[in-house]
Amino acid sequence: MRLRLEKRLEPSRKMLILTPVLSVVAIMVLGIIIFDGLGYDGPQAVWELFFTPVLDVYKWRDVATKAAPLIIIALGLSLSNQAKIWNIGAEGQYIVGAIAAAGVAYSTQSVTGFWIIPLMVLAGMLAGAAYAAIPAVLRTRYGVSEVLSSLMLVYVSLQLLSYMITGPWKDPNGHNFPQTAQLTAAQILPHDLLGSGIPPGLLVALLAALIFYIIVSCTVFGFSIRAIGEAPHAARYGGFRSDRIIWATLMISGAMAGLAGVFELMQLSRLNLGYPSGYGFTAIIVSLLGRSHPIGVFIAGLVLAITYVGGQVAQTVVHVPNATAGLFQALLLFAILASDLLVRYRIRLSFKGDIAAKRSVA
């Protein structure tokens, strides 16, 4: 007896929605086993990791705060993913966006005005888009894989950040710490916008998810992105130019990463060495877990944010190492990629193949 894969005539819509859920459940079970194996209280560790942040009202704000940048970046990535453009350098665009916004902040320290925050947002988005334009030009003009070029630029952006906070923008009152000066009141959005209790970043994420939903489901532009991703040659025949789509999706995902960088800067109120948090990488998991669908991405962003917050809880309560959240995110990504198989194939038990395999020609 052996397992046999049978290709489905059409991908299963049920599995498309079910597999991300199954993946999360599978990772919880696997987590219990791993933590027990490492000598921790497995069930409790998993409980703290996945459920405490949901059940504890005081953690909601943390979750929302972490979810906002993840969702904003992942929405942009979900567009490029659909075009099969792999912008894995979102972390770099996120950092550069924050640096640009910090630049605006640096030069507006002594002034106030309603225009400062929009200017910071604009600067961050433009910087993110410009940084993503580098892999775009390399890909469209020279045929360089955007995977490698966008990733290399992450390391460059880290050095740029390090230089800015130890050099020109170093906080003069910072006791020689490598960091920028704190943002002024005119440079930070109120943490409680419109009295809703929801952090401003998450409101932006929600609004962005709605806009992306319309783009993806109703517009020729959204259609062209999917067409390029599925069959570039057919898309060209349909009148869509792949160069333009590569540019558009990279610039949009770069701008979204930059936008997330601005909100995170406002959230932390300054740039320091701890700023590069890996959100740009985790957002890739979010976009894949959310099936590159705006609503899915929104939910997936909350789930990943829960593992961040839960990771900290598990660290203090069960004393698991702080690397566990990252490990779980990777396992989740493995699970979602592996479970894609269920969308495209049906698993069948077969008894015949065996007999065939036993007898063979001399």
């Binding site: 390399l138 050095q159 230089y163």
Partner: protein, 307 residues
């Protein structure tokens, strides 16, 4: 003084080049078989912590290297199962492997932070490497000699052996190879495992020689440089050797900039340089048609045999 300085610098360059040369050689074989594994960085980290932990616990660096190699291959095999047997996307899975490697190595490594061990010495007797000049020949860690051997052997394997021809054929046209009877999936599994083993050894080079301790993400993006190197080299072993040492020089500049302050530009510039140059070289090579060398035709495409 200048001669000594140059010779010293050369030794440094050779030392820091070695892990990227090892990892890139492994990836060359993987890509020649038609698979792109972006998890090099993760596999290197797994090898680094495995090599360090085993060496520290047993006192036997050779056992450490062996386990690093095996763990790199095991990590690669996870990738192999995902992309070969489950048909998962290679880019996403490779990325997952890197994130996984970072997480797993940090988890295991949390017990080893701040411990130092003696670096692995040259396999030759000290008497052979008394002065600086002879140290160029005899004064390196075993990794250096192994890396050069491995890349030359890989070049021979690919171009002069039948097995190498079959491997290239699988990367060139998997359906043809399948239809004339070559086990495409099995060959790719072997190639992926080899790539993982080489990356594992490269990681051990970091944690046993280059900086004989464990630090989170100590490979610092060198795995990505190794991936880019395979592209620069036009998928050819000889150019891989040359390209690695070129990048070794760039990486050494950062060390010297930090140490001596001779640089006019800030140290961050020198640290960013290998990555900047990598991006520029990628563009230069691909803009010149033909000169850059051709990627295996099936690179990154899934192979699902019908029937």
């Amino acid at each position: 003084m200048t001669i000594t300085f140059i010779l010293d610098a050369l030794i440094t360059v050779i030392g820091i080049t070695t892990p990227i040369l090892l990892a890139a050689t492994g990836e060359l074989i993987v890509e020649k078989s038609g698979v792109i594994n972006l998890g090099v960085e993760g596999m290197m980290l797994v090898g680094a912590i495995a090599g360090f932990a085993v060496t520290f616990e047993t006192g036997n660096p050779w056992l450490g290297i062996l386990i690093a190699m095996v763990s790199g291959a095991v990590a690669a095999s996870i990738f192999g199962v995902m992309v070969l047997s489950l048909g998962a996307n290679q880019v996403a899975t490779g990325l997952a492997l890197t994130i996984f490697g970072i997480g797993l190595s940090s988890l295991i490594g949390s017990n080893y932070v701040g411990i130092a061990i003696d670096p692995l010495d040259s396999p030759f007797p000290d008497t052979l490497a008394l002065d600086t000049f002879w140290r160029i020949v005899f004064g390196h860690s075993p990794f250096v000699y192994f890396a050069v051997f491995l890349v030359l052997a890989t070049g021979f394997f690919l171009n002069k052996t039948r097995a190498g021809l079959v491997l290239r054929a699988v990367g060139e046209n998997d359906f043809s190879a399948h239809s004339i009877g070559y086990p495409v999936i099995r060959i790719r599994y072997l190639a992926i495992a080899f790539g993982g083993a080489a990356a594992g050894i490269a990681g051990a080079d970091f944690s046993l020689v280059i900086s004989p301790l464990w630090a989170e993400q100590m490979t610092a993006g060198r795995g990505w440089i190794a991936l880019a190197l395979v592209v620069f080299a036009g998928w050819r072993a000889g150019r891989l050797l040359a390209g690695s040492y070129f990048f070794g020089v760039l990486m050494a500049l950062e060390l010297y900039a930090k140490a001596s302050g001779f640089a006019i530009l800030p140290s961050q510039f020198w640290a960013a340089m290998p990555y900047l140059i990598a991006v520029i070289v990628l563009a230069l090579l691909s803009s010149r048609d033909g000169k850059g060398g051709k990627a295996p035709a099936c690179l990154g495409k899934p192979f699902i045999p019908n029937g």
